[in-house]
Symmetry: C2
Amino acid sequence: MTEGWIAIAGLGPGDEMLVTPQVTAALDAASDIVGYIPYVARIAPRAGLTLHPSDNRVELDRAAHALDMAAAGKRVVVVSSGDPGVFAMAAALFEALETGPAHWRNLDIQVLPGITAMLAASARAGAPLGHDFCAINLSDNLKPWPLIEKRLRLAAEADFAMAFYNPRSKARPEGLARVLDVLREACGADRPILFARAVSTPQEELRIVSLGEARADMADMRTMVIVGSSLTRIIDRPTRPILYTPRSAV
Amino acid sequence: MTEGWIAIAGLGPGDEMLVTPQVTAALDAASDIVGYIPYVARIAPRAGLTLHPSDNRVELDRAAHALDMAAAGKRVVVVSSGDPGVFAMAAALFEALETGPAHWRNLDIQVLPGITAMLAASARAGAPLGHDFCAINLSDNLKPWPLIEKRLRLAAEADFAMAFYNPRSKARPEGLARVLDVLREACGADRPILFARAVSTPQEELRIVSLGEARADMADMRTMVIVGSSLTRIIDRPTRPILYTPRSAV
């Protein structure tokens, strides 16, 4: 009963060729898999493995369930898409750990990194995050709009490239339109922006436009949005263009 | 002679269990491997594979060499540690492509993402990048100090967690001390800071201190430095502490 453990594992953006061997080994050793329904659906059922899919917006309950099972001796993998440490389950699990029973702190807990969406999208487009950049979660339920707007304006002033997670949510569909308005004002209409949908899956679609052309309906819930810095540029090619940010700011 | 291609591949932070199957497949299919000496040293020699290790600070020459070989029909993998799109070879290769001969633009060029150092370090420490964050390259030869200082102050005002690549370089050893001075002024002495050295290798060392206690000699050229946001906190445990940033800013 003391052999339980938890691994919080990143499954990457979708393609199984982007799942690390470390994560695959943890999944092979697990007795229980916990996570949001579409992520658990990526795990092949097998004898001795129990799948516990749950809806989103129940991250803390899911985390407590995982911790309880590990305390009872189970070998638990909590699955996230992308990297578990970037706007995903690792922080939720530690929130539950911090406020939960003291004995949870004795558990063997590992975070297993994965290919996060912004780096998968960046790789497919070229290298838009090749110089200094920031990552901002636009999900509506975790911070107020004035804080998002403040961060956008400061990031533009710092001339960071910017990667946006969760650009469109059902609860606040107008959010991305406001973000694009602020970015046009702060960065100008010519700045390139990438909409990268369902990267690494058969549904993948990449679109590079200017901020002046960008519209909120170019993103859905599977889209990663990346805005370039003042130095980001496009190399035209016979096939598809390359979007990249040079290494040097001088 | 038209079968050549280039893959710019991320080898992750060091542990072979963190190399994606996609990168392994590209290495297996390659005829030529190009990269900085210690990264090429990670590739097992085999019949039919030519290794081209080169010194650092010759990224553009290396990129041109790789493009030339691909144009001549070779199957070339350019290796980076971590992720090739984060302060690594992808941007250098596109700089060479942009200014090089037009026929290079017909080449088959793919960027294959990897586990970048900040996410490997974050996973080992907990989830310090679990809310909005930025990534800044402190390497001395790519931007002037006033720009670094401006970005530090704006990132602190935006209350981003911050990940620093290349915190110490031989050419400017005093740089990190200046960075720490600015951060103490902008974020206060109590803010936690992580020094994560050689993550995922046998030499791995993690140290979490306050900015007030932080000293530049806690980092060397293999260290990733992460400074928390105002919300980042430490969970004490019988084994090692967990450093994490909650998901919500409200």
